[in-house]
């Protein structure tokens, strides 16, 4: 099981075997970069923060005791590092309106699309636009909602595990994810409604 491996590598590192650290680094560098990038919206910042997470791991190696799952502990560090950074930099992105992405729409923040684009090879470009918009919405979301949502959707944590990562009750986690999904839905719905394949799915 992945957790057993993680803990073994961490304990090996604790005993002085640096290869334990190397293995953990190779395993988690990518996922942590993804998490921190989606959390901060900025690659360079994510890079710094990822290094900070591993530095903290090194510092904690001496006193590490496998109490919770390793991944939970690691993402707890990453979430704290991410949230501290976001608060420090005061990402006050709420002031800027979200940019309307799909041409032909007046206001992407609600209401019907008056000129739906025709199904065409532009699908790829639209997917990229959707991703851009999604990231913008994520960046504007309160950080607790953002963290809980990303941990679930991108990193497969259960509500229980998220409650450990974020030191919250599971009821609070459920509420955070629900509100985060609602926020995303509010901004994405007008666009999602016009994706060609959705018409077919409604035939269920």
């Amino acid at each position: 099981m992945g957790n057993t491996e993680d803990i073994q590598d961490m304990l090996a590192f604790q005993r002085g075997d640096e290869r334990g650290f190397h293995r953990l680094f190779q395993r988690y560098r990518g996922p942590l970069m993804n998490y921190l990038y989606r959390f901060t919206g900025n690659r360079a910042v994510a890079e710094e923060l990822m290094q900070e997470v591993f530095l903290r791991l090194c510092r904690a190696a001496g006193t590490y005791e496998p109490r919770s799952a390793f991944r939970t502990w690691l993402y707890q560090i990453a979430t704290n590092v991410g949230r501290n950074e976001v608060r420090r930099r005061e990402y006050s992105v709420k002031k800027e309106p979200l940019s309307p992405l799909i041409s032909g729409t007046q206001n992407g923040l609600g209401g019907a699309i008056s000129n739906p684009p025709s199904a065409s090879p532009e699908d790829m470009a639209r997917a990229r636009q959707m991703e851009e918009l999604t990231q913008q919405v994520l960046s504007r979301m309160p950080e607790k909602q953002r963290a809980a949502l990303l941990l679930r959707r991108h990193h497969g944590f259960s509500y229980r595990e998220i409650s450990d990562v974020m030191n919250l009750r599971t009821g609070a986690v459920k509420s955070l994810i629900h509100r985060a999904t609602g926020t995303l839905r509010k901004y994405l719905d007008p666009y999602l409604g016009i994706l060609p394949q959705e018409g077919e799915k409604d035939a269920m």
Partner: protein, 162 residues
């Protein structure tokens, strides 16, 4: 089960995180409520969009060895910091005072060495005399001499040539 309660639980329902009886109750409600079904589809679309987000490639910009090295450096730096906190009397000397302090230190050291006559009898190779001569010139320029062994040799030289 009422629609607004179902909607509050829909996200958790889709995540299969509700307690079993609640999970079932929502399922049953959805089977016969078209408007909640619509709501469910809308949330599913959002989830798919989120889950479908591309994972960008993140090239490795730093090696694990570098991180380990940073951790070691930071440890010694922070030890330096804590040393400064524990010994606040080790204050940095302002620039103008350094030569004066240097002189005082050297004179004090020479004074101490004068109390050990045995050390004056040590033999002194020529090369070291040259070395000392250069150092004495430096001393005249009031540079701080840190090497006490050097001072010892200076004292020995003075004793021989004085």
């Amino acid at each position: 089960m009422r629609c607004n309660k179902v909607r509050n639980n829909l996200t958790a329902f889709l995540d299969r995180e509700l307690p079993e009886n609640l999970q079932e109750a929502v399922e049953n409600h959805l089977a016969s409520c078209p408007s909640c079904q619509q709501e469910r589809k809308a949330l599913e679309r959002v989830q798919q969009t989120l889950e479908g987000m591309e994972v960008p490639p993140f090239e490795e910009t730093v090696s694990p060895e570098t991180i380990l090295e940073m951790a070691r450096t930071r440890t010694s730096a922070s030890k330096e910091q804590s040393r400064k906190i524990r010994h606040p009397w080790l204050v940095p000397v302002p620039r103008g005072w350094q030569p004066v302090l240097a002189l005082a230190t050297v004179l004090a050291a020479i004074g101490i060495w004068n109390a050990f006559p045995l050390l004056k009898a040590l033999p002194l190779p020529t090369a070291q005399e040259i070395y000392l001569a250069e150092r004495i010139e430096l001393f005249e320029n009031l540079e701080l001499i840190q090497d006490l062994a050097l001072l010892e040799m200076m004292e020995a030289t003075e004793g021989e040539h004085g």
